[in-house]
Symmetry: C2
């Protein structure tokens, strides 16, 4: 499991964590498409999609912890069935991500580390503006913590890399598993 | 989807619903083993195991509804990834089971219809006795409803069939999908 020796090849859980607007979903979509093109069994799990299935999940710490655990459990079941699973989820708490790591066989944590200022300037969904106006409370990076990974397998800062370069960096990292 | 024409072959969700002690898990284990022996990709989802991952799930109607939806979502994701998924879950509410049916491509509902008296006499986990003594409230079949399936794909009454015969009946039913 975590820290132990890994088998060279096999399915994995590619876990993209980072702030809203950091570029997680864009990268996840590209990697998923690339894997499918190669004929590899792959599944794409997106935090928002899964929240839609379980609308009662809150955004307080307990709600977020449960949400991360739920997505992690699903990812681990897919992994043990031979499916490369790509998760894009803010997943702001270190403890929750580490629990998922323990549950998975090959957990590849990608910190999409695009700086807050850049994410906020992009503000694709308008959520940072709402948060600054106080219309959303507990927004990650503004008034709720984002706990950076200590030793992620990969850092991707999309303010410094093009999407194509980010994709190449991830594909390069996972090449040994394929 | 439900009611529509099905493709002849492909992965499915085999959903065993019934009272506690009706024999769901026993049948599910046997079917899972048989599929694996045949080299078929299969996964076994058990309600109790998944509750252990999400310990905050309650046993009131909302909690049970959420639990059934969660297991159903997981089953549907596995199914769309080519994995025959076998679920054993009391899943007492018709509405919740029908929602799962809509979500899945090939949903095979098996009503493990062993009568309450027989389940209670077995009382493998001692839960019926606790319920009768009032130590558990909201126990399915005693003081919480079990809504029988209207048109399940299969009925299995383990008070009338041996385990081997129950297994054979299910295997016979799913043979066309394999």
């Amino acid at each position: 499991m975590a820290g132990g020796p890994r088998e060279a090849q096999g399915p994995f859980v590619l876990w993209l964590t980072g702030l809203s607007g950091s570029g997680k979903s864009t990268i996840a979509d590209r990697i998923y498409t690339r894997l499918k093109e190669k004929g590899i069994k792959a599944e794409r799990l997106d935090g928002d999609e899964i929240r839609a299935v379980f609308p009662d999940t809150g955004f307080d710490r307990a709600g977020r912890m449960a949400h991360i655990a739920r997505v992690g459990y699903l990812a681990s079941v897919l992994e043990r069935n031979g499916i490369c699973t790509i998760v894009s989820l803010i997943s702001p708490y270190r403890e929750a991500r580490d629990e998922v790591r323990q549950r998975c066989d090959r957990f590849i944590e990608v910190h999409v580390s695009t700086p807050l200022e850049v994410c906020e300037e992009r503000d694709v969904k308008g959520l940072y503006a709402k948060s600054r106006r106080g219309e959303i409370i507990g927004f990650t990076g503004i008034d709720d913590p984002y706990e950076e990974p200590v030793e992620p397998e990969l850092h991707i800062d999309t303010s410094r890399l093009t999407v194509a370069d980010a994709e190449a960096a991830v594909m390069n990292h996972i090449a040994s598993y394929l």
